[in-house]
Amino acid sequence: MSAQHGWGRDVFALAFAVQNLLWGLGTPFAGAIADRFGTAKVLIAGAVLYSLGLVLMTYSTTPITLNITGGVLIGFGLSACSFNIVLTAFGKLVPKEWQGIAFGAGTAAGSFGQFLFAPFGVALIQNYGWEYALLVFSALVLLVIPFSLALMTASNKQTVTSANATPEQAQTLREALAEAFGHKSYVLLVTGFFTCGFQLAFVTAHLPSYLLDRGLSAQVGGWTLAIIGLCNIIGSFTAGWLGNRVPKRYILSAIYLTRAISVAVFVSIPPSIEATMIFAVITGLTWLSTVPPTSSLVAIMFGTKWFAMLYGFVFFSHQVGSFLGVYLGGLAFEQFGSYQLVWWLSVALGVISALINLPIVEKPVARLGATAA
C-alpha cells in the first residue's frame, strides 16, 4: 500500500499513533456504553466501524484519508470490539472460578490473532493484492457479530429497574467514577499500567532498529518480535491461571520487576543473538500477562456494574504510555543518536511499577462489602 501510493514510513506511523490513541481514548466511553446498554450492542457497533475502516482503507489515497480510515475508524472500532470489552464481558458473565482462565485466554487469543493473521495477510497481499486482503479482513471482522451474541450482558437500565436491584446495582456512572478515582488502589493500578504500555510500545517500535544499531541483522529483529508474540500467548494464559492462586498484586509486581531486570541486563551486556533470544522469551512471557491480573483487580475492587468503563480508564493509561514509549524512543534517538536513555527510563518505570503495585488492596470497596453483609 505504501509503495503504491509513494508513502514514507511516517505516513503509516502517524495513522498507527492516531489509531492507538483513539483506541485508548474511546475505550472508557465504549465501556460505559457497554455497561449501560449491554456488551453485544457495543461489540457489534465496534465491528461495523472496524470493518468500515478496513473497507475504506482501500480508497485511502492520501495520508489524511488513511488517518481517518486506518486511524480514526479502526481506532474507535477497536475501542468497542477488542479484547478489553471482551474481558469485561467475561467478568460479568463467567463464574468466578472461571475468570482467571477466561481473562488469560482472552488476552492470549489476541496475541494468537496477531500470530495467525500476519502470515495470512502476507499471503493474501502477495497473491491477490492489498486491496483484496483488506476486503477479506473486513469480512472476517464482521464475525464478531455472531460471536457477540454469546456475550450479551444485561444493560444497567434493566438492572436498576428490576425489582431485585441492590444498592450496589443502583450506583450511577458519576458515583462510580468518583469512587474509583478516590480509591488509592485504583489510582495505583492506573499508574502502573502506564508503564506496561510504555515498555510494550517502545520495544515493538524501536527494538528492531536498536538491534540493527548493535550490529545484529534485520532477521534477528523479526524473529525477536515473533518469539515475543509466541511467548506472550503462554505468559498471558499463565498469568490468568496464576491469578486464581496467587495475589494479583504480587503477580503484577513480579512482572514489572522481571521486565526491569531483563532490560537492564540486556542493554548492559554485549549484543549477541543468544542474549537477544533470551530477552525475547522473557519479554514475551511478561508482555500482555499484566492484563488478566489488572482487569481482575478492577472487578474485585468495584464489582462488575461499571467494570468495562473503569477498566477502560486503566487501558487509556496504557495507551498514553504506548504513545510516549514510541514518541520518546524516536525523540531520544534523534537527539542523542542512541536509545540508551529510554531503555533506562523503561527500567526505572518498571521498578516504580513493581513497587506501586504492592500496596494495592485486593478486596472489594466498603460499599460492596456492606452490600454483601
Partner: protein
C-alpha cells in the same frame, strides 16, 4: 460476578450460549479476529 446477569433469564434457546466454555471460546474468537487484521497491516 454472577453467572447470569441480574434481572434477566436466558431464553432456553440461548442457554447454550451461557455455558462458560462457549462464552470463553466466543470471546477468544472475537479477540482473534479483531487483533489479527491490524497487525497484518503493520499496526502491530
Amino acid at each position: 460476578m454472577s453467572t447470569t446477569p441480574a434481572g434477566t433469564t436466558p431464553a432456553p434457546l440461548l442457554s447454550f450460549l451461557k455455558n462458560p466454555l462457549v462464552l470463553v471460546i466466543a470471546g477468544c474468537m472475537i479477540a482473534i479476529v479483531t487483533f489479527g487484521p491490524r497487525s497484518a497491516f503493520g499496526f502491530s
